[in-house]
Symmetry: C2
Subunit: 317 residues, 2 copies
């Protein structure tokens, strides 16, 4: 079977917006630099497959992330379509200026819910980091931009262990207060389970954050990403992050099992009769093609299964 049977559930939304992170989050950790033209073709194919929100690149310093050092030249090469959003990551005011200079109108900033991760990843205390975003978010909103804030380590932190729901809610409210349009609740190390997802999302709703202003971003490190996504849909969230072909995670590990694969997500949503606008066959072909560019197969189970079905019959027993 090349598509699941459709069985709707009344407690789930009719439509989900997939926020595709492959070109940025997926490629960011690749050791070998991918040519700009290949990245543009990747993004064009994702759009052709029906994705309407594609995080395209990052305006961090090229010194930090050489792979995305071509952001200034890549962005103007993207297709100009009114129905597609190309958000980009912006770490600070310098990045915001570079993004504005090439016509960016959707940005994402990158906050964390824990003190230790903030100090280790952003080299600042949690308070300093959150305060530091105020200027970026304020400037961007004044310029008419749409702003997402990632909130990483919302469930567990490699140094602190379990993260309190109340701490995540506190940081999320500060980001909403700064004017962010969307808060992306991220399980950066993949430890969450569905009850934890319900508890956090329900607490955020209780604190006044609308589910329409939330997104979820799950990692599949412990195989839990899709179950947690189902829990988030049950809680009313309708924006879900995923990475075409499951790109991302640690490129040095034998099998990169970082991001939830967009294909596995689309299989779930299709089976539930939830509209995404995505053509699964075109998406699988895109991820297979990108796997060829990177020289290794996609870790997505749907990509593997549908590619194997497409391959000529083998004579093995």
């Amino acid at each position: 079977m090349r598509a699941p049977a459709v069985h709707r559930r009344r407690d789930l939304p009719d439509r989900v917006r997939i926020y595709e992170v492959g070109p940025r989050d997926g490629l960011q950790n690749e050791a070998a630099v991918v040519p700009t033209g290949t990245k543009v073709e990747f993004i064009e194919r994702l759009v052709a497959a029906g994705l309407r929100t594609v995080e395209a690149t990052s305006f961090v310093s090229p010194k930090w992330v050489p792979q995305l050092g071509d952001a200034d030249s890549l962005f103007p090469m993207l297709p100009a379509r009114a129905d597609v959003r190309f958000p980009v990551l912006v770490p600070n005011l310098a990045g915001l200026e570079r993004a504005r200079a090439v016509g960016v109108d959707h940005i994402a900033v990158f906050a964390a819910a824990t003190e230790t991760f903030s100090r280790r990843n952003l080299n600042r205390s949690l308070d300093e980091a959150i305060e530091g975003f105020a200027a970026v978010v304020g400037e961007a909103r004044k310029a008419g931009m749409w702003v997402r804030s990632y909130l990483s380590m919302c469930f567990g932190d490699p140094w602190e262990g379990e993260v309190d729901v109340s701490q995540v809610v506190d940081v999320a409210l500060r980001l909403v207060g700064q004017g962010c349009n969307e808060i992306c609740i991220a399980d950066t190390i993949g430890v969450a389970t569905p009850g934890h997802v319900h508890d956090l999302l329900d607490s955020l709703v209780g604190a006044g954050v609308a589910t329409s202003d939330m997104a979820v971003h799950f990692h599949d490190t412990y195989g839990q990403a899709l179950s947690n996504t189902l829990a988030a849909l049950e809680a009313g969230v309708t924006t879900v992050d995923s990475s075409a072909g499951g790109l991302g995670g640690c490129p040095y590990a034998e099998s990169a099992t970082g991001n939830l694969a967009t294909e596995d997500l689309v299989w779930l949503l299709s089976g539930l009769g939830i509209e995404t606008g995505v053509d699964l066959e075109a998406l699988v072909a895109t991820s297979a093609w990108m796997g060829d560019q990177l020289g290794r197969p996609s870790p997505s189970r749907v990509v593997k299964a549908l590619q194997e079905r497409s391959a000529p019959e083998r004579s093995e027993p």
Copy 2:
């Protein structure tokens, strides 16, 4: 983190019985024959890790499945423990006699929900196959044995496509009528999604099959196994099949992604505060050891993640 934070959900059961299929379903397709002593050690380690139902082997003809041709000598070597069940697969009356001769008291028969699969896999029509089980189930029940019937292809069939819920219910009722103690609803090709799981299980309940007499057996071919398990728990099922380390599936494929990995299931259930009695660290160590015996790493994401955390620090960037 080596275990998830615990967040209970009131709509889920307090306790789940894991029906471990690794030694039979997991090893069955392995090309290289595993020595009997290694199989016994595998089973002993699974029991030591807290598993209390372990499908140990199959009394099919050794001509069909040479890997499990040592069933008669293996079974008497298993630990004699009143608190552990060791069901075995039995295909016919000849297999039942062999099983009785070595003291088996829990068996499983293998039915299918579709005509085409029955003809291709069992070489009989669906009606003939179901009728053929009546004698085996009847004899076994008369001898005081506990009987499970697998029901494969409950969601999709490679030749027929989607399988009607009503057809599955019909076959399940016939098996229950024969005296089977447990019906294991299996998604053999891994195509199910959570709405389909709800619809089928609700229909079975509506037809009079108690959830306490059901088990579920999901394959991860399209990455959906754990989400479907969550849906089954929501529907009230409390027996879930899985395979230690994710053993099983097609050994010729690059990464065997057949059975749901017991470790990934235990991570989910632990996070939901659902008791299983399983010691995750001991189980991961067992699957890592078995992977060494088979000469390839476990496809379980939890096994990979916890093994990598255990490895010495690497100097890679």
